[in-house]
Symmetry: C2
Subunit: 203 residues, 2 copies
């Protein structure tokens, strides 16, 4: 596309580098910004800079935070469990279920050789450090990773590191979603939901 304007071109280029946003969407956003008052663009631009410069990661659980010590400690009532997740949104999602009040550990991704991400790029060493420093107070590690090949690889890697330690390793249940129809489930999921069936409770 030729816009006859360097400024528009540059803005479209920058915006379309974001994931899921193509040139056409970027142009639509640019035209929207041009129609809004100047303050709108200013606040957008400032919040992006402030975000990138100011963001910190909790030195313990690696959750995104404004300070180096996040509020994770205050919200935890059970310090015997660590839930290992890939990224910060997973923490928010699990917290919002209200079913878990243990600790979290964000890996920052998953092992994916094709993208050049090995175990060293992830916060796996610091996970081991946390477990060792706890002097046995951590009794369980929940692997809440995505159900993809990379997620499974990461789970296997962590499991291997933990063998020998007296720690229960669990993973979140895979199965038919609540409200889901059996008919539309894929075979692997349905198969797993049968092999890992649980006792029926009437609560």
């Amino acid at each position: 596309m030729n816009f006859h304007s360097k400024l528009v071109e540059e803005a479209v280029d920058s915006i379309s580098r974001l994931p899921g946003i193509g040139k056409k969407t970027a142009l639509r956003l640019v035209l929207h910004l041009l129609k809004q008052p100047k303050e709108e663009s200013q606040s957008l631009s400032e919040s992006i800079i402030k975000l990138r410069e100011g963001i910190r990661y909790c030195s313990e659980c690696h959750v995104i935070s404004d300070t180096l010590e996040c509020t994770c400690r205050n919200m935890v009532t059970d310090e015997s469990i660590i839930c290992v997740v890939e990224d910060t949104p997973d923490v928010l999602a699990i917290r919002s279920t209200g079913q878990y009040n243990g600790m979290f550990h964000v890996l920052g991704g998953r092992i994916s050789p094709i993208d050049g991400i090995g175990p060293e790029e992830l916060h796996i060493e610091s996970l081991m450090g946390r477990i060792d420093e706890s002097n046995g107070s951590v009794k369980e590690v929940i692997l809440a990773l995505s159900g993809t090949m990379e997620g499974d690889t990461t789970a296997f890697y962590i499991t291997r590191l933990l063998t020998g330690k007296e720690i229960r390793i669990t993973t979140i249940a895979r199965g038919i979603p609540v409200g889901g129809e059996l008919e539309y489930a894929d075979e692997v999921t349905l198969g797993r939901s049968i092999t890992t069936r649980t006792l029926f409770s009437q609560e």
Copy 2:
């Protein structure tokens, strides 16, 4: 959503104010920016500010431009026709067909009382000015507006202003798209394509 981070919250708020981007997409973009090098966020932020501060509109045709005098004059070989469009992308789209080499006039929107946009908000007066100043050299006005109620309203308004002047008023053809199946066309479009049928040519 509660991110336990003011910076993330502010960035998500700003980004999700853009059209077509919700809170979840905004969070995904924020997490993407955090994983990229700092320069990426910086260049995005700068290009938005530079765009908003530096952009100008051609004083004659109102196309988005970096200067007050755009390149529109140089590209025009036929100064007897003005094609009236709603926004700058329409100019780019029509130019890229290679079927038109006349002048353009961007209205900057369409008459839409429900959004508080009356004829005064659009560049209709300057269109009349251009036609009057041309001393009769403009022979035709093509109304290339969208086929919605607001587009039609705008077209009717301009037509009324032009009555009495010796100018041919045309509109782009409505009909079945090239390669389109009759079966799937809506009745109104199909009806219009019959009433405004053209002579069959074998070129």
